[in-house]
C-alpha cells in the first residue's frame, strides 16, 4: 500500500485509458503522457496498461508500507527515497516505511509514479483510469487527497536500480526552442473553412499555453484564427488531440478528459505519436503546430513503437543478465 502524505495539484490514478465506451459518452481518460506510463511499467516488468499515479504539481510525498519496486518517468523531477536522491526515468526500490519525496519539477508537466504490480484500484468499464466527469474509476473517481491509501498489486518485479533514456531525448524533435513544443498535426474537417491567411497564422504562430489548460484541454492564446464564416457543426465524435477553434479564434486542444463530442470547427488533430508532447508541455510555455501527412504520422507512431521496443529488449537483457549472475 501507499499512503499519500502531501499532494499539491490534481494528482490521479491513470492507466492507458478507457477506449471502447464512446457510445455511452465516456471518454478515454488515461495518462496524458502514455509513453512515460508505458516506460515506467516496462522498467518494472508490469503489464504496460498497469495503473500509475499521474502527478502534475510538486511537491508530492508518500509512504510505502512494504518493500516494493517503483519507477518515476515523465517530467524531469527532483526526488528522494528515504533521503537518497533518485533521477527521473529510474527504477528504484523502497523498504517498508520509506518516504518518497518528489520535491520539484524542472522540465515537463507530469510525473508518473509506477509501482511493481501496478496500483490495484478496481477496473471500471474496462479501465482503472480516473473519470473525473463521471466520478468513477481511479480512487473514488476523484483527485488524490492527503491520507488516501492506494492498494498495490503483488509483483515479482526485479528490484535492482536501473535507468533508461527519457523519451524526450530519444524522440526529440528538431528546431524546438527552450520551453517550446512542436507537435505534428493532420488537418481536420473544417481546415478549408479558414482563409489561407488564417491557416498561415495557425501554422506560423507560437501559441502560449494558458493557465486554463488541464487534462480536459489545452487552451491556447495567440492571434485570432477565424473561419471565413461562422461554423456551427452538428455534434459529432471527437478524440484527444482534436484542435477546435471556438468563435473567439483561440485554439483548444482536446485532451484525455475531453468531452467525447463537439461542434466547434476543427482545424487539425495532434497525431497519436505526439499527444504525449502536449501532455508534457507546461502552462505558460509555447506550442507550435507542424502539418503532417497521414502516412508520415503512421511512420512517427512506428518511431515511438521502436523506442518502446528497445526498452522492452533492454529490460529483458538486464533481467537475463541478473538471473545468470
Amino acid at each position: 500500500m501507499i499512503e499519500i502524505l502531501s499532494v499539491t495539484g490534481p494528482a490521479s490514478i491513470q492507466d492507458l485509458g478507457r477506449f471502447d465506451q464512446y457510445r455511452f459518452g465516456v471518454g478515454t481518460s488515461g495518462a496524458m503522457d502514455d509513453v512515460a506510463l508505458r516506460a515506467g511499467n516496462i522498467l518494472l516488468g508490469n503489464d504496460e496498461n498497469a495503473a500509475a499515479v499521474e502527478i502534475p504539481i510538486m511537491p508530492f510525498r508518500l509512504r510505502f508500507d512494504r518493500n516494493i519496486a517503483f519507477a518515476l518517468t515523465g517530467a524531469a523531477v527532483e526526488a528522494e527515497i528515504a533521503g537518497r536522491a533518485i533521477p527521473p526515468w529510474w527504477r528504484s526500490y523502497a523498504r517498508a516505511g520509506d518516504i518518497l519525496n518528489i520535491k520539484a519539477m524542472s522540465h515537463g508537466a507530469r510525473s508518473y509514479l509506477a509501482v511493481g504490480g501496478g496500483i490495484d484500484v478496481p477496473m471500471v468499464l474496462g479501465s482503472r483510469s480516473t473519470q473525473f466527469r463521471g466520478e468513477f474509476g481511479g480512487l473514488h473517481g476523484r483527485p488524490l487527497q492527503v491520507g488516501d491509501i492506494l492498494p498495490c498489486a503483488t509483483s515479482t518485479a526485479a528490484i535492482g536500480e536501473f535507468g533508461i533514456e527519457p523519451a524526450g531525448i530519444t524522440l526529440a524533435r528538431p528546431n524546438a526552442a527552450a520551453d517550446e513544443s512542436i507537435v505534428r498535426v493532420i488537418v481536420a474537417g473544417e481546415y478549408d473553412a479558414f482563409e489561407a491567411t488564417a491557416q498561415e497564422l495557425f501554422w506560423s504562430s507560437s501559441w502560449t499555453i494558458t493557465p486554463q489548460s488541464n487534462r480536459y484541454g489545452y487552451r491556447l492564446q495567440g492571434p485570432a484564427v477565424k473561419p471565413k464564416a461562422p461554423v456551427e457543426k452538428r455534434s459529432h465524435g471527437i478524440v484527444p488531440g482534436v484542435i477546435q477553434i471556438p468563435p473567439n479564434g483561440q485554439p483548444i486542444i482536446q485532451m484525455r478528459d475531453a468531452q467525447t463530442s463537439g461542434g466547434y470547427p476543427k482545424i487539425a488533430t495532434v497525431i497519436g505519436a505526439d499527444l504525449w508532447r502536449v501532455g508534457q508541455a507546461r502552462l505558460g510555455g509555447k506550442l507550435r503546430f507542424e502539418q503532417t501527412a497521414y502516412t508520415d504520422a503512421l511512420a512517427a507512431e512506428d518511431d515511438m513503437s521502436a523506442y518502446l521496443d528497445r526498452l522492452r529488449t533492454n529490460m529483458r537483457l538486464v533481467e537475463e543478465a541478473g538471473t545468470c549472475r
Binding site: F19, D20, Q21, Y22, R23, F24, G25, V26, G27, V124, L125, Q131, R133, G134, E135, F136, G137, V185, I186, A188, G189, Q212, Y216, P230, E232, R234, S235, H236, G237, I238, V239, P240, G241, V242, P246, P247, N248, I252, Q259, T260, S261, G262, G263, Y264, K266, T269, V270, I271, G272, A273, Y294, A297, L298, E301
Partner: protein, 220 residues
C-alpha cells in the same frame, strides 16, 4: 448554406475518422446513421462506431494502412443503408425552466424574439428522440427541437455548467448528465439519473428512446 449531396469523410488524426451524412438533421437520416453504425462496428480494425447527429465516428483499433479501402466501404455501406427504426421507451422528464441553473432562458428568448412562456412552450412541445449519446457519460443528443428556439453556441465555452442543465446549442437541445464545461445555453434543469457505471449498461438511455419534457415550474 449549401448542403453537399455526398457524405464528407475527414480524419481525426490517426485514431479516428468522421463520416458526415449529407442532408437534413432529421429522424430518417439518423436512422440510416444507426444502420451504418451497426454495419461498421463489425469491421476489423474498427474499435467503435459512434453515432453523432447525422454523422458517425469510427475509432481505430490500430490506424488503417489503407484508408482508401475504408472510405470506399463506408460510402458503399451508406448508399445501401436502410433506415434502422429502433422502437425505444418514452421517458417523461420534469423540468424547472429558468432559475439559477437555467439562467440563459431570458437570453434565448431575447435572441429568438420570443417571450419566456413561448420558449418554454416551444421547448416542451415535441416528443424528442435520443439521436446519439456523447459529450460526457450518459449525455443524450436529442432530435426534434423546433428551429424557432435555435441559438448559436457560446463564443467561449463555460468552464463549469451544472448537472441536470437543460440546454440549447445551435439547433440542438439536451440535458447534461453531470457538472462540467459547456458551450451551450442552459434554460432549465431536471433531476434524473442518466448514468451509473455499475449498471449492466451504464447509460440509462439508448439511441431510439424518446423524451418528453414536462413543465414542472417556470422561474422568471
Amino acid at each position: 448554406m449549401m448542403v453537399p449531396d455526398r457524405p464528407r469523410i475527414s480524419l481525426l488524426g490517426t485514431s479516428a475518422l468522421l463520416f458526415e451524412a449529407p442532408g437534413a438533421f432529421d429522424l430518417p437520416h439518423q436512422r440510416r446513421i444507426w444502420a451504418l453504425a451497426a454495419t461498421a462496428s463489425k469491421w476489423t480494425d474498427i474499435r467503435e462506431a459512434v453515432p453523432g447527429i447525422t454523422n458517425l465516428m469510427l475509432t481505430f483499433e490500430t490506424p488503417p494502412r489503407q484508408l482508401d479501402a475504408l472510405i470506399a466501404a463506408l460510402n458503399d455501406a451508406w448508399d445501401t443503408a436502410e433506415g434502422l427504426a429502433i422502437g425505444g421507451r418514452e421517458i417523461r422528464l420534469p423540468v424547472t425552466y429558468g432559475g439559477e441553473i437555467g439562467s440563459q432562458l431570458q437570453s434565448v428568448a431575447d435572441h429568438c424574439s420570443l417571450s419566456i412562456d413561448d420558449v418554454v412552450a416551444i421547448h416542451a412541445a415535441p416528443l424528442y428522440t435520443v439521436f446519439a449519446l456523447g459529450s460526457h457519460p450518459g449525455y443524450c443528443y436529442l432530435g426534434g427541437m423546433d428551429p424557432r428556439i435555435t441559438m448559436p453556441r457560446r463564443q467561449t465555452p463555460l468552464q463549469r455548467s451544472a448537472g441536470g442543465s437543460v440546454s440549447i446549442g445551435g439547433s440542438q437541445t439536451g440535458v447534461s448528465a453531470s457538472p462540467g464545461p459547456s458551450g451551450w445555453h442552459a434554460i432549465g434543469h431536471t433531476s434524473w439519473t442518466f448514468f451509473d457505471p455499475s449498471w449492466p449498461t451504464p447509460a440509462a438511455l439508448v439511441p431510439g428512446d424518446t423524451i418528453r419534457f414536462v413543465i414542472e415550474r417556470v422561474i422568471r
